[in-house]
């Protein structure tokens, strides 16, 4: 588009003004963002296995991390944990041993600059007396029978999760369930308490589930802190009972599925009995028969 010379000059000065103000605004936004993004990221992706000054979960406590390893090593580790481990790095092997075989996963969407920002955040938080990432210090009172009952209700969906998250049974099952059992999309949670190394690890997981499937759902509808303890009690009880998998239930489930499919096919065939069934081939066949 062709404008007159005069309006071009105006447009030029306006453009400079716009650029300056944009730069200023973005500076302000960036400085707040810079603090905000890693903190949120830590909460979503790291806090389920790590605390800063709250003790060990699945992964080690990250307080004063920079005293333990050099920054370059840490960044490489964060970007490619499995690769570092495969290269036989002694410190990585030590970490794995401490975590009883668990390997840190590569967090979704991590970049070199984000890794650096996260390390900065850890350093900052380490200076504080009590970091915001010290982990939720859930009460460590002994777990009672009432807790187990409440947890059972939550797991089965008899009590709805307070923040609207889906009940566990939709995707998970435990061996003690009778009948058809729970969902089979997710893991069997009978030994979840043992897998996540007890109360602390399991609580951290439940507060911010990091798995690819659960994370997007429970970011929007987190499990409430008050619901975590009963669920932990329930899952602990399951691990302690450690019942064998119910084979009959699984076979029944499959048989019901096959039976249901057959019934549906028959129903559909009856329902659409008068459907169009082809004209040309029957016509040709008939003509040759006559």
């Amino acid at each position: 588009m062709q404008r007159s010379r005069k309006s071009q000059t105006h447009a030029g000065s306006a453009r400079i003004a716009a650029a300056v103000s944009f730069a200023f605004v973005s500076l302000v936004i960036c400085s707040t963002l810079r603090a905000q993004v890693p903190a949120d990221y830590f909460k979503q992706n790291c806090a389920s296995c790590h605390t800063i000054g709250g003790g060990r979960l699945t992964g080690p406590d990250l307080k004063n991390l920079s005293e333990r390893q050099e920054r370059d090593w840490l960044v490489n580790w964060m970007l490619d944990p499995e690769g570092t481990l495969k290269s036989g790095d002694p410190y990585a092997v030590k970490l794995q041993k401490e975590a009883r075989g668990a390997v840190m996963t590569r967090s979704p969407g991590i970049t070199r600059s984000l890794a650096v920002a996260l390390l900065d955040l850890i350093d900052q938080e380490s200076q504080l007396e009590k970091s915001q990432f010290a982990g939720t210090q859930l009460s460590d009172r002994p777990l009672l029978q009432e807790d187990i009952d409440e947890g059972t209700a939550l797991f089965l969906g008899q009590t709805k999760l307070k923040n609207g998250g889906p009940s566990c049974i939709g995707c998970h099952t435990v061996n003690s369930l009778t009948g058809l059992g729970g969902g089979r999309l997710g893991l069997n949670l009978t030994r979840a308490y043992a897998r996540l190394e007890g109360r602390k690890g399991l609580s951290a997981w439940l507060l911010a589930p990091p798995s690819l499937t659960m994370n997007p759902i429970f970011t929007k509808h987190p499990i409430d802190e008050e619901e975590v303890l009963p669920l932990v009690a329930f899952l602990k009880n399951e691990t302690e009972r450690d019942e064998p998998a119910n084979v009959t239930a699984m076979i029944n489930f499959m048989l019901y599925g096959i039976g249901g499919a057959v019934v549906l096919l028959v129903v559909f065939d009856l329902l659409w009995n008068r459907r169009f069934r082809g004209v040309r081939q029957p016509m040709v066949n008939e003509s040759y028969h006559n």
Binding site: M1, Q2, L271, R275, F276, G278, R280, S287
Partner: protein
């Protein structure tokens, strides 16, 4: 009176030579994409024959079109209530076998076959699976083959004929066939539009073309079942339905649609008709034998000042009205009454009309000369090879009176022209025939001219689309005045 304009068509079957040029022109422009291989928006059928898809006229099977029910009409295949339980599985879909499995040939094999005792051949491969296939059917299977015991014998239009008539149709010296080219009829009461759950099909306001909105179509395929002419098709690649668009990009720029333009026999005519949209409901509800007349009565005389006024007040452009006054379609359908709609009994009120074919003279060899078996120069229709009932089933909902009228008038015109140009028929006899056929001398000249001497501009009277005016409803045409034109996209470093 709700006067609207409709681009309508006449196919003069007496001139069709069955060359399929129209089908190829259409195929090359519109349906040579992936997913459309099996579609023929324009196809040419041999009649008697079962057509494409096979036996599409058998609505007991295909459930196309409307049927009368409790004083009103309803779609045979679906309805507002019925569409919901059937939305994920429409039960009346033709299968690929009923259309045909599209194929091509592996021409490479002609060159790469190893040396052997036989000629190499290009084997057919399916355009759907890419594998070798045996060709069992095609879109014009048994083309030019009358009397075929499979395809011709199963023509649904043979219903109501006596066993003797049917037998005669396949008797060796009575074999007869004619061609039946088909495109979308751009109906006034289209079943496809009525059935669409997404509202993707619509009848365009300014010229009545029935179109599928490719953005809104969700591929439910109810239009495919509801169209009794089977002229909407499902594109398996895009998951949307497609149909003949009457080449509207060509029409809008003043050109005839590709199939019209390329027609070798010059059988196709195109022009605007003005009709009264208030009557659609009433006409579609008429008993079968009144349908032809009611349908014709909807079409209004574009010379009538009252009609012109009503059209103007309804937003029909003056130039469209002028074009309607010159429409060849109006002459064939309304003035002369020799063009008839195909299968009016489906009640979609098709706007493509056919001038029925004059079927051949009965002859036999007498020594070395061909001898005319009928008295006079032209045959008596009732002794013609194709029974009148057959033609009437096809073009006038079984009404043989309308068919006889159209044929008789054409015959009278031939007699009249024979008297004028050859003179072996007396002028009085010819004039008498004209009177009997309800045809004036002017009409006879008109029919003769538009049938035999018609030029491009006589056949295709395309109304201007007036897009430049239509656009004013959406935006100000002066919006960019002085802001576009010749200039520099980037300022030069020096000068200026």
């Amino acid at each position: 009176m709700d006067v609207r304009s409709q681009i309508s068509m006449v196919f003069h079957l007496d001139k069709c030579i069955g060359c399929h040029t129209c089908s190829i022109a259409c195929k090359n422009i519109w349906t040579d994409r992936k997913g459309t291989e099996y579609m023929w928006w324009n196809n040419v059928e041999t009649k008697p024959g079962t057509g494409y898809p096979t036996k599409w006229e058998d609505q007991d099977k295909y459930k196309g079109g409307w049927e009368k029910s409790n004083g009103s009409i309803k779609l045979k295949s679906t309805g507002k209530g019925r569409i919901i339980p059937n939305i994920f599985h429409h039960p009346h879909q033709p299968s690929m076998d009923d259309y045909y499995e599209p194929w091509t040939y592996k021409y490479d094999e002609l060159f790469t076959a190893p040396e052997g005792t036989d000629q190499p051949t290009a084997r057919p491969i399916s355009m759907v699976t890419g594998k070798h296939m045996d060709i069992e059917a095609g879109p014009n299977w048994d083309d030019d083959l009358s009397g075929s015991p499979v395809y011709a014998a199963n023509d649904p239009n043979l219903k109501g004929l006596t066993a003797e008539q049917k037998m005669q149709l396949s008797a060796i010296e009575r074999l007869v066939f004619f061609y039946f080219p088909r495109i979308c009829n751009h109906c006034l009461n289209p079943g496809c539009v009525a059935s669409c759950p997404s509202g993707a099909l619509h009848k365009r306001g300014e010229d009545g073309l029935v179109l599928v909105d490719q953005e809104r179509c969700r591929g439910w395929r109810s239009c495919i079942a509801a169209c009794p002419y089977k002229k909407t098709y499902y594109n398996w690649q895009t998951g949307k339905s497609e149909k003949c668009i009457l080449c509207f990009p060509r029409i809008e720029s003043g050109q005839a649609p590709a199939c019209f333009h390329s027609c070798v026999g010059r059988i196709r005519y195109l022009g605007v008709l003005l009709y009264d949209a208030d009557l659609i409901d009433e006409v579609a509800n008429k008993p079968d034998d009144e349908l032809i007349d009611a349908h014709r009565a909807m079409i209004l005389n574009p010379h009538d000042p009252e009609v012109v006024r009503a059209a103007q007040s309804n937003g029909v452009h003056d130039e469209v009205i002028k074009s309607a006054q010159k429409s060849p379609v109006y002459k064939f359908v309304k003035e002369w009454g020799i063009a008839l709609p195909p299968h009016i009994e489906y009640r979609t009120l098709p706007m493509l009309f056919y001038v029925p074919p004059m079927l051949p003279v009965m002859t036999a060899m007498d020594g070395n000369a061909k001898k005319n078996m009928t008295e006079g120069l032209f045959p008596d229709f009732d002794k013609a090879r194709a029974p009148m009932e057959f033609l009437a089933n096809l073009f006038s909902g079984g009404n043989t009176g309308k068919m006889r009228y159209a044929l008789k008038k054409q015959m009278a015109v031939r007699q009249y022209r024979r008297a004028v140009t050859v003179g072996d028929i007396s002028q009085e006899a010819a004039n008498k025939m004209l009177v009997e056929a309800d045809c004036s001398v002017e009409q006879a000249e008109g029919i003769y001219n538009l049938t035999s001497l018609c030029t491009f501009d006589d056949r295709f009277v395309i109304p201007p689309a007036n897009r430049e005016e239509a656009i004013q409803m959406m935006r100000d045409p002066l919006e960019f005045k002085q802001s576009v034109g010749f200039g520099l996209r980037e300022e030069p470093e020096r000068g200026a």
